[in-house]
């Protein structure tokens, strides 16, 4: 609701730049006589999915003895299949480009079906152990399932969940196997996360270059960048050469990400890179144990210096401010 916008629309109409038919709905919007509840419907649907899946989780946890594992597995599986069957019936034809969603019900029943199917798979694996010692593989199966659904039904949400499940597969597998082989998992986990992050970023680039689901690229690159920077941040320190290497790696990776995204006008990634580089620089300085005064002075000078630099460079960023 904005009287200023209504007045602006009125001005355009008065000067003949907007016809009466075109001005009428805009005036209604500006004065709050027509209100869109599109976002609210999506939020309600999303909450509904989360609460339903939480209920299914409690059912799986608490009712094993009463209902029996087979009944529960079939029940949840049937619910998942019902959701996905609706989605399959409503789905538009496949395209490598962006496909408009048929509606809110389509989006959220797809999400609900995918989550219920994954929960059911986890339950089956826990109860009947078909994968035996290789149980972490079920994360990979879930990742592949999510990825298939994401590609077929053009869902960036499911694509992000596929990448998350893939990373979970690597993490859980390494935790189990590396601890048996090497006894020290954090370092191996870190290298795995780095490799996963780099692979996701490359996947994003490949999708963009090939023009196949190119709009998935930001999802892959953002998750990849978060994984790489998170892995480097978790290993930084000054106690060993390896820790120092991670700290310097975070500084370098953050700076490189900031530089690359600055050129590509990708402001979210730019901010991520700057924060990573700044955190690394602060971490390196603090590890020198310079004392409270010097640490605070360092933070003040670097933070405010960065602000001055960003404000001075603002003309080059040209990020849409409104």
């Amino acid at each position: 609701m904005s009287p200023d916008v209504a007045a602006a629309v009125e001005g355009l109409h008065r000067d003949g730049l907007l016809s009466a038919e075109a001005a009428r709905p805009l005036r209604r919007l500006a004065l709050g006589h027509l209100v869109s509840v599109h976002a609210e419907i999506r939020v309600l649907s999303y909450l509904g999915v989360l609460v339903t899946v939480a209920g299914a989780g409690v059912l799986l946890r608490d009712n094993l003895a009463r209902l029996g594992p087979l009944a529960i597995a079939f029940g949840v599986g049937a619910a998942a299949v019902s959701c996905l069957a609706y989605v399959a019936r409503q789905a538009p034809a496949f395209s490598w480009g962006e496909v408009e969603s048929p509606g809110v019900a389509f989006d959220y029943l797809l999400l609900l079906g995918a989550l219920l199917a994954a929960a059911d798979l986890a339950y089956v694996e826990a109860q009947f152990t078909p994968l035996g010692a290789g149980w972490p593989l079920h994360f990979l199966v879930v990742a592949a399932f999510y990825a298939l659904l994401a590609l077929r039904y053009d869902s960036r949400t499911l694509f992000s969940m596929a990448l998350g499940s893939f990373a979970a597969w690597r993490g859980v597998s390494i935790t189990l196997h590396a601890s048996l082989l090497f006894g020290h998992t954090p370092a191996v986990l870190r290298w795995n996360a780095l490799a996963c992050g780099a692979a996701f970023a490359l996947l994003g680039q490949a999708l963009l270059r090939k023009g196949k689901k190119a709009h998935f690229e930001p999802v892959a690159v953002h998750i990849g960048a978060l994984l790489v920077l998170g892995a480097l941040a978790s290993g930084m320190g000054l106690r060993s050469f390896e820790e120092l290497g991670f700290a310097l790696g975070l500084l370098g990776a953050g700076a490189a990400l900031a530089a690359a995204s600055y050129r590509g006008r990708r402001f979210g990634l730019f901010v991520l890179g700057v924060i990573a580089a700044y955190a690394s620089a602060c971490g390196l300085f603090f590890r020198l144990d310079p004392g409270a005064e010097a640490s605070l002075l360092f933070m003040a000078v670097t933070a405010l210096g960065l602000v001055f630099a960003l404000v001075a460079l603002r003309r080059h960023f040209k990020e849409d401010a409104e």
Binding site: G48, V58, T157, S160, E293
Partner: protein, 392 residues
């Protein structure tokens, strides 16, 4: 807020709306260009991502300066309060300078200095209150000082969030008083009414946005005062009852049915206001209050097993959302009673929401299966090979 800043805010609102409408295909590029030309920008602004970065870095830098001076001077409590007052004053001047001669708006730094200034001044005032008052008066004055500083900062510099903080703190000042429950209802109702009036007025955009915050704070205060759980727990009836007194008096009080009814009816009142006036904030307050009332019902009455309640509620929510969308789209011009399910708002805000959803979902993954199989039991040497112990 200076007249020049108000004019700039009004122009910015027109340009932002025009951009959103163009993205949604409601107006053509030439119309948007005409609106941009008629409502020019004379402020220094940054985009959302850089604005957040500049805000965070300025905030860190300012408090690091304060911490450095504090560490060097090592003043006592009084000295720290004086230092906070001086810092608050300096930052207030810096904010004025940025909003005035530097013509900054939505640039991050001016918001950071404004917030830091308010926090520093509140800190100094808290020390002062601690020196001059005790007991309940001290509690009231703490909150009152915070309310005054935040509200003054929000109104002066045009930051609706600070104004909303101020309004919230005002209720904090009422909480220790006798009759706090009645005060909450009266002041909360007034805040809702004032917020609705402000939102619908031709006040500057920042004040209209502050009206939204007032609605939220007021609706929350009234709900808190009339909620059954708050009555039963003795909340707002003084510390003695809450921590030392018997709650049985509350439970057997003749007034209790009033709170039972209010807990059920208030969400519907909020929703009714939202629908009748077409105000989305009241709709959101009504939905949140309805959720809280349903949780309260579950707390007092064991209607069904948890999984049934959760699954049923989730499915009901989804069914309601899908039916609402279908019903609205089936209306003439895809609208009914001034509501539509068509996406007409700023696409970028929606994308931010979707990005948050993705971030949440990316952090979730199916539960790690419980080690139900003997193959997963440690200690038996059944897992791994080459001398592995099977423990993990």
């Amino acid at each position: 807020v200076t007249p020049a800043a108000v004019a700039a805010d009004r122009n910015a609102e027109v340009r932002a709306t025009a951009r959103a409408w163009e993205r949604r295909g409601l107006i053509a590029a030439p119309v948007r260009a005409a609106l941009d030309t008629r409502h020019p920008d004379d402020r220094v602004r940054l985009g959302p991502a850089l604005r957040v970065l500049v805000f965070v870095m300025t905030f860190i830098g300012v408090w690091a300066v304060f911490g450095f001076v504090f560490a060097v001077l090592s003043p006592g409590d009084g000295g720290a309060a004086a230092l906070a007052a001086v810092l608050g004053g300096l930052l207030a001047a810096l904010t004025e300078w940025q909003l005035g001669p530097l013509r900054r708006s939505q640039a991050g730094a001016e918001a950071a200095t404004a917030l830091a200034s308010a926090l520093a001044l509140v800190g100094a005032l808290l020390w002062l209150v601690d020196e001059i008052a005790t007991g309940r008066l001290e509690d009231c004055l703490y909150w009152l000082a915070a309310a005054l500083v935040f509200a003054a900062a929000g109104v002066r510099w045009g930051f609706p969030l600070l104004t909303t903080f101020g309004a919230g703190c005002l209720f904090g000042a009422m909480a220790p008083l006798d009759g706090a429950r009645a005060l909450f209802v009266i002041a909360g109702g007034a805040a809702v009414w004032g917020g609705l009036a402000l939102e619908g007025s031709d006040a500057p955009p920042s004040q209209r946005q502050a009206g939204l915050g007032l609605q939220v704070v007021g609706a929350l205060a009234v709900y808190l005062a009339l909620h059954l759980g708050s009555w039963d727990a003795g909340l707002l009836d003084g510390r003695a009852l809450l921590f030392h007194g018997s709650l049985s008096a509350q439970r057997t009080s003749a007034l209790r049915p009033v709170f039972v009814a209010a807990t059920a009816v208030l969400p519907l009142v909020y929703l009714g206001l939202g629908v009748a006036l077409r105000r989305k904030v009241m709709l959101a307050c009504g939905a949140a209050a309805l959720l809280a009332s349903l949780v309260t019902l579950r707390f007092y009455v064991h209607v069904a097993p948890l999984w049934v309640v959760l699954t049923g509620s989730g499915l009901a929510l989804m069914a309601f959302a899908f039916a609402l969308e279908w019903w609205l789209r089936a209306g003439a011009d895809e609208e009914r009673g001034g509501f539509t399910a068509r996406p007409l708002e700023d696409e970028r805000r929606q994308q931010v929401g979707e990005a948050l959803v993705m971030a949440v979902q990316a952090s979730q993954h199916p539960e790690r299966p419980a080690p139900a199989s003997p193959a997963f039991k440690g200690g038996g040497g059944t897992y791994g090979g080459g001398g592995a112990t099977g423990e993990y």
